[in-house]
Amino acid sequence: MILAVTGGKGGVGKTTLAYNLAAALDAVVVDADLGMADLPTVRGPDLHDVLAGRAAVEETLRPGPVDVVPCGRTLAGARAADVTRLVDALEAVERAHGRVVVDCPAGRRADAGVPLAAAHACLVVVSPRAFALADAIRTRELARELEAGLVACAINRVVEPPPTDAIADALGAPAAAVPADPRVGRSVVTERPVVTAAPQSDAAAAIRSLADRVPARGR
């Protein structure tokens, strides 16, 4: 099962949501944001090396509270990456570990499209602000064209009650609000996913409810 966590706009919290969702799903999270990686990385081969044909994806897997396939942070690495190799890499991780959550880049370029084409389902992250919805709808259209079924949309970093029904109608999928919680924001850097670090919190409950919508198996 490969789940793409996507969203049209940058800065809506795709990475933190992907990381925490992977914790709830007991999945490997793959940082596919080739130009602007966010998940923590260490020395050693990363996704850039895999996409340049220099490493096998198994070599890049970094175990932790959530297993991570990190991505390099150099522009040279992003330029050398052949994004068509991503499908084989994601499928290899799926074969070895079962569930894969892909942190997708923003936008409508090839690096945003390929994970959607490879994924069995996708989850769109949207900011509660109205202007961010247009980007989410465009991403939703891209996912539809590439046949990545939308399982849910996450309205992220909610402070006031959001127009959940309106957003769900616009995107045509169940919407769930994830409340703003500094522990979620810190979870990636501290490697303490909120579902285990603060299981009683509202944010953890929201992430678990999103995880419940993800089908157990792919196509």
């Binding site: 940058g10 800065g11 990475t15 130009g35 522009l75 330029r79 994004v83 090839a110 499209g113 590439l146």
Partner: protein, 263 residues
């Protein structure tokens, strides 16, 4: 065959260019298979490095609607001449015809729809790669520091320097190594100019001559003087801004603990 085919073959610099025109004169959509008969690999049209839909190693499969005309083409490198070429051009002529229709069947409207592939996505969407110009070749060992990007926001690499958070505020303390590297590089350039100007300042004849040789001509020295004047203005503005920002940064006191307890 129920499909009309005509072609032309051009030869340019050791490559055959084959242009074909297909016409389906019938009233039903047809799926047509076109195979190359040339002795060499088929080089199909590509977009962003990915062959156009329908092309494979030996030819093309495409669907033609009723009475639809379509032009397609590919390239094929000439086979390298075997043995020594003594008496002129040994290259065999292109076979005639260079292509053949090897399959033609009505399209089943109830058949399975084609599923989108990764190649479709790459063909249709824009290139994700950062432009070559931003990937500076600064030699092994230092490229990581000078070209890497660290940011907690998603987005286009080209927007690194101007990336804003949802609040419309500039990125909150994101360490942008690329920007830092650019500033350091600029300061290094300025320092080099100032050193050249220093060597020319109050120098005796011998030192001045040596320094002038290094700078170039007297006109270049005047250039250096003008640039250093401009540097003075820029550096003063930068120093003012930096010290006022540092003072403001020092005066802030975010009650992290209190905010977390009420969050």
């Amino acid at each position: 065959m129920r499909v009309d085919l005509s072609w032309t073959v051009d030869r340019v610099d050791g490559v055959w260019f084959v242009a074909c025109r297909l016409h389906n004169p019938t009233e039903v959509a047809r799926r047509v298979r076109l195979d190359s008969r040339l002795d060499g690999p088929v080089l199909p049209p590509r977009r962003r490095g990915v062959p156009e839909a329908g092309w494979d190693a030996t030819g093309l499969t495409l669907e033609l609607g009723p009475d639809e005309r379509r032009g397609v083409g590919f390239a094929c490198p000439l086979p390298s001449p075997r043995g020594p070429t003594t008496d002129g051009d040994q290259t065999p002529p292109a076979p005639d015809p260079p292509v053949a229709i090897t399959g033609c069947s009505p399209v089943d409207p109830d058949g399975p729809p084609s599923t989108p592939t990764v190649a479709d996505a790459v063909r249709r969407l824009g290139d994700h790669r950062p432009p070559r110009a931003v990937v500076t070749d600064v030699g092994a060992g230092t490229d990581v520091a000078s070209t890497s990007v660290t940011s907690t926001t998603d987005g286009d690499p080209s927007a690194v320097a101007t990336e804003e958070t949802e609040d419309g505020q500039p990125g909150d303390g994101d360490v942008c190594l690329e920007t830092t590297a650019a500033i350091t590089a600029w300061l290094d350039t300025v320092e080099g100019r100032i050193e050249r100007a220093e060597r020319l300042t109050n120098a005796d004849l011998e030192t001045a001559t040596a320094a002038l040789e290094r700078v170039g001509s007297a006109a270049d020295a005047v250039d250096v003087a003008h640039q250093v004047d401009a540097d003075v203005a820029r550096l003063t503005r930068l120093a003012d801004r930096a010290s006022s920002l540092a003072a403001r940064a020092e005066a802030t006191d975010v009650p992290v603990e209190a905010l977390e307890s009420i969050a």
